[in-house]
Symmetry: C2
Subunit: 134 residues, 2 copies
């Protein structure tokens, strides 16, 4: 399927193709709840409410949808124990674990440069909206 194009500099061999794929994947795992859920699960299996509390600020519904999506993508497994108080555990699959590996550099970059970005935004905003300053 993938043609045998030599990878020149990494991301831009034939942009049209690669961008689509990366875009498609990012479209799945790119939303913030997904990233956060995956991050929590990096630590090991966790129950629904545990994940919800760890993330904080996520609604019941959104976490459910997020986890269902991850399950569908084969990135996490869902294990329901038929106990009286229902208990469901989510865990990263092998594939999910390889993803977190890939995500780590991005996490580091985010942490390292997030303030720089913020600063750039402030500068830009200051230039664009001097009206707010009164």
């Amino acid at each position: 399927m993938a043609s045998a194009k030599p990878s020149t500099s990494g991301i831009n061999p034939d942009r049209a193709d690669h961008c689509r794929v990366v875009g498609a994947v990012l479209d799945r795992i790119g939303d913030k709840w997904t990233i956060m859920a995956v991050s929590v699960l990096t630590d090991g299996p966790a129950r629904f409410t545990t994940i919800m509390r760890e993330i904080g600020g996520v609604t019941h519904r959104m976490l459910t949808l997020t986890l269902r999506g991850l399950e569908r993508d084969g990135l996490v497994t869902r294990t329901a124990y038929a106990t009286v108080p229902p208990r469901v555990e989510y865990e990263l699959t092998e594939l999910g674990r390889t993803l977190t590996t890939t995500l780590i550099p991005l996490a580091h970059w985010s942490e390292a440069n997030w303030q720089t970005i913020r600063a750039a935004q402030d500068q830009h905003d200051a230039r664009s909206e001097p009206a707010l300053a009164d």
Copy 2:
């Protein structure tokens, strides 16, 4: 300002904090048009229409918004030449270039596993919606 927490396994030192940051960054650069625009610019400076054609399927408006966002984040620079047919060039900043570096592993992962994900989705869908088969 970041506390001197030892990074245990990479992404999960104190989830709440790190997830926020990564989530925030992903919220900015995570959408597909942004990723694609950055990918195109990895090749070097490019003009508006060039980027639009390279990406394909993006509307005038969305590309404008995307590029403005990137400019605001300090990831790309915008240079307008006051020629008769207006000509605007976009180029990655140094910060933008460090981001692409981080993105490369993710691109590889996407390429390597996108089919696996697709397959997992198909399996999952087949189990969930056997009704459509008729």
